[in-house]
């Protein structure tokens, strides 16, 4: 055994050095780790095979990667990816395996069983490399990312039957039905245990751990969850990484998701580094040197065929460009293929040299993968560039007197939506892939390209454009694009967003029609909004009956208090209208503030009457009822204010939108009936009103149950919001009932 310390120092030092250099030329760290492994392996003569500890540490890198991917994919999200996982995944593994197995068997005379296993192995791609890069570049949620992730998840699941198949081909002692039965039972038990723990225990465990406020206990619990879940999966014959993925999915449905994700990333990246170093360790330069022609030939052939097959399969539902990008992303051979080839070698199913060559080809394809994925846009552009750009430009050529909107970040999207709302033709120009996909999904006319590229701007007919809006987040980009536009034609009008007033002078040389200082503009808008709300508050909170009152005539003042108090119900009704009409928060808040101002004045008069006026016993009883009413109405306003926020949140979720709308209508109906009772008391109305506020049939509980049931499939925060809002609805109905009862008491005393 080598002394570990110098090897570790050399490995960490070399990895750091290589990655610093690679980062400078924009290459991913994966390459640095793999080369570190290859160099250290050769220098110290270390081999990962047979070194179980190193194999396990390396494998847990992938486990943590799959766990973090699982965190992004709750059960509901996975359901929404059925097509990518089960259709594309099945097709990819099935078709690639059949083609590679046929070629191996027919052209290279490999025996059928070995050919099938090798075919399946070659169909797999590298989850670790592809997902790491897609995650780092934020492309995981693009269409290419979804296609790739779906297929990779299926491949990870497919590893189980592939390993089973090797056992069937090599194990003559057990029957096929016996093996299938055992595996199916194991799958049910393992999934059952993991789901039961996830659904029943995990939330409680993390809640208890979070309460300790200790980072180390939190980290410990994450480790326990990941390692525990992967151990359970492995114990039942599945890969460690599948267990990690399921554990991630279980936490994705809890509120601890983001905290777990943040705490896990350093740990995950470190272990992944070890994994990639272990991949590098498997490169045997001697085999590469001795078989350079077969390695290059096989490698190129496999990658080309795999790219072509995946491309053709994905054409079923994706555009040519997306299909080719996904195919290039997945064309390498994966780490699980290495496991499959190791088993082929161990079970002597094929010539060992051929298996070694396959393993070297797999590793070289993995080394090439980051280069290919990082340059996927340019590679795809070779084949489809002109076509795609023509498509976009064809659309934009329809424009004239149009607006060119550079940038489609959060600000750009708002600008684009407002341009649409005003019916102004515009074309979006962005160099961000994710933004491009978003714009496409939103049916925008969009062109992928650099905003400061003069050729692109010319092709967008910038000279004929009404205006150019620079909605770019980076101020350097604003400057570069302004310079390019000025070079095309200094007369072209530019509207740009600048981060603050300080940057204004830096753009003085260019022809800016308007420079929007985002801070100043936002501040102006905010103050405008507040001013409007203040005016609304002032208008609604103006007294109508208590403008003048005297304590010398308490009977008349009490009557005025009653009338003014009824106006509080009217203000509450306006809040309901605000919610119905989807007014902004400030608008609705203005009504709540009006209520507070008005109720404070009414409360003051009640207090004066009670402490300073000379009251008859009847008047005292009446003012006592009004005081109680006052308390109930204040609670009603507070409850409605909280409920209003919750209803707006419920409205944003497709599954609870109807409840939000129906709650406004239902509660407003009760309130309108209460206003009738308050204005002109009628016992028949009151009897009906009692029915409305009694909740005799438990209708609200039934609604709550139906939304919390499996059919709606709300996540944890959705359920929490639903419980809180229905509790507030319940509380409001009860307050309505009490206020109605007070009006009955007032009418009895009248």
């Amino acid at each position: 055994m080598h002394n570990l310390i110098p090897i570790l120092i050399a490995a960490v030092g070399l990895a750091t050095l290589l990655n610093v250099v690679l980062k400078k030329i924009n290459m991913p760290t994966v390459i640095g780790y793999i080369f570190t492994g290859a160099i250290i392996g050769t220098a110290f003569d270390i081999h990962v095979h047979g070194n179980e500890t190193l194999e396990h540490i390396a494998e847990f890198g992938v486990v943590f990667l799959m766990f973090s991917i699982g965190l992004e994919f709750s059960v509901s999200h996975l359901k929404s990816m059925k097509k990518e996982v089960f259709l594309f995944g099945l097709l990819e593994v099935g078709v690639c395996a059949v083609v590679f197995a046929s070629v191996a068997h027919l052209a290279f005379d490999v025996n059928l069983k070995a050919a099938i296993v090798v075919g399946l192995g070659l169909a797999l791609s590298s989850t670790a490399i592809v997902l790491k890069i897609l995650n780092e570049t934020g492309k995981i949620k693009s269409e290419v990312g979804r296609n790739s992730l779906g297929i990779l998840i299926f491949q990870d699941i497919a590893v189980i039957p592939i390993l089973l198949l090797i056992t069937i081909f090599t194990d003559t002692g057990r029957s096929l039905s016996d093996l299938l039965l055992t595996t199916s039972m194991n799958a049910v038990i393992a999934l059952g245990i993991l789901i039961a723990i996830g659904k029943l225990l995990l939330g409680h465990i993390f809640k208890a751990v979070a309460a300790t406020n200790s980072k180390e206990i939190y980290m410990g619990s994450i480790l326990l969850t990941v390692v525990g879940a992967s151990y359970i999966a492995h114990h039942f014959g599945f890969s460690y990484s599948l267990g990690g993925f399921i554990a991630g999915m279980m936490i994705a449905d809890t509120i601890y998701k983001y905290q777990v994700e943040a705490d896990l990333i350093p740990f995950r990246d470190l272990l992944l580094g070890v994994f990639f170093v272990s991949v590098g360790l498997q490169i045997d330069f001697k085999i590469v040197a001795a078989n350079i022609a077969p390695v290059v030939g096989l490698g190129a052939g496999i990658i080309l065929v795999k790219t072509l097959l995946i491309f053709c399969l994905l054409l079923v539902s994706s555009s040519k460009k997306v299909a080719l990008k996904s195919a290039i992303t997945l064309c390498q051979i994966g780490e699980f293929s290495l496991v499959v080839f190791s088993l082929v070698l161990a079970n002597q199913m094929m010539d060992p040299t051929v298996v070694q060559i396959l393993m070297v080809v797999a590793i070289i394809s993995m080394v090439m993968a980051p280069f290919l994925i990082n340059n996927v846009d340019s590679l795809t552009g070779i084949f489809f560039k002109s076509k795609i750009e023509e498509d976009a430009l064809d659309q934009s050529s329809m424009l004239g007197g149009h607006v060119i909107l550079c940038g489609f970040g959060s600000f750009g999207r708002v600008v684009s939506d407002q341009l649409d709302a005003s019916g102004i033709n515009h074309v979006v120009l962005t160099n961000n892939t994710e933004a491009f996909v978003k714009a496409k999904e939103s049916q925008k006319t969009v062109v992928f390209g650099e905003p400061d590229d003069r050729d692109t701007l010319e092709r967008l007919k910038i000279r004929e454009a009404m205006s150019v809006i620079l909605a770019l987040d980076d101020f350097e980009d604003v400057k570069k694009t302004s310079a390019s536009i000025t070079l095309i034609d200094p007369k072209i009008k530019i509207i740009a967003k600048i981060p603050s007033e300080e940057e204004r002078h830096e753009l003085e040389d260019f022809n800016h029609e308007l420079l929007v200082d985002s801070n100043q503009h936002t501040a102006t808008l905010l103050v405008d909004q507040i001013n409007r709300s203040r005016l609304l508050t002032k208008e609604t909170a103006t007294l109508q009956y208590l403008t003048d009152y005297t304590l010398d005539n308490p009977g008349e003042t009490i009557h005025k208090v009653e009338r003014e108090q009824t106006r509080l119900l009217d203000v509450i009704s306006r809040s309901f209208n605000g919610l119905r009409e989807e007014k902004d928060i400030m608008h609705i808040k203005a009504f709540h503030d009006s209520f507070k101002v008005l109720s404070e004045i009414i409360g003051g008069v009640i207090s004066d009457l009670m402490s300073e006026a000379s009251l008859s016993p009847e008047e005292y009883e009446r003012i006592n009822i009004l005081l109680d009413n006052q308390h109930q109405l204040i609670s009603m306003n507070d409850t409605l204010e909280q409920l209003g926020h919750e209803l707006q949140a419920l409205k944003k979720n497709e599954k609870t939108r109807s409840l939000s709308e129906m709650a406004v209508e239902g509660l407003d109906t009760i309130l309108l009936t209460l206003m009738d009772i308050a204005g002109d008391y009628d016992e028949d109305d009151m009897l009906m009103y009692e029915g409305m506020t009694s909740n005799e049939k438990g209708g609200l509980s039934r609604i709550r149950e139906s939304y919390l049931g499996a059919e709606k499939d709300l996540d944890a925060s959705g359920k929490s919001l639903l419980l809180s809002s229905t509790n507030h609805i319940d509380r409001l109905r009860s307050l309505f009932g009490q206020v109605g009862n007070n009006y009955r008491r007032l009418s009895e005393g009248a």
Binding site: F576, R580, S658, L659, E661, M662, A663, V664, E665, G666, L667, D668, T669, I670, L672, T673, D684, D685, M688, G691, M692, T693, S694, N695, E696, K697, G699, L700, R702, I703, I729, R733
Partner: protein
Amino acid sequence: MLRIDVEDIDTGLQVLRLFGTLDGLTFMDLNKAMNNSVETGVDRIVLDMEEVDYTTSAGLRVILMGAKALKEKEGELVLFGMNSAVKEVFKLSGFDTMFKTFASEEEALTSF
């Protein structure tokens, strides 16, 4: 838009079939239809809600007024065929405790 088809079933018994949305723009149509019915001696009204996609508080208030007017004549208003959204608003407004609601027209008609 709200269309209302009135069907006489028996003496004093009518089915009002509603088609559309019962909201602040259309509630007066139902109000008029029910007033007409009551004025012509109808004391039992069945509201066919099968084609009502949505109802606001204004719509609910008209149903309430209609029920009140019928109650004064010792009659009754019942409903059938409500979709899930309308059922939900009935539960939230407490209307489910005040009104008899049925799944089918037959059940509604035999309830009197």
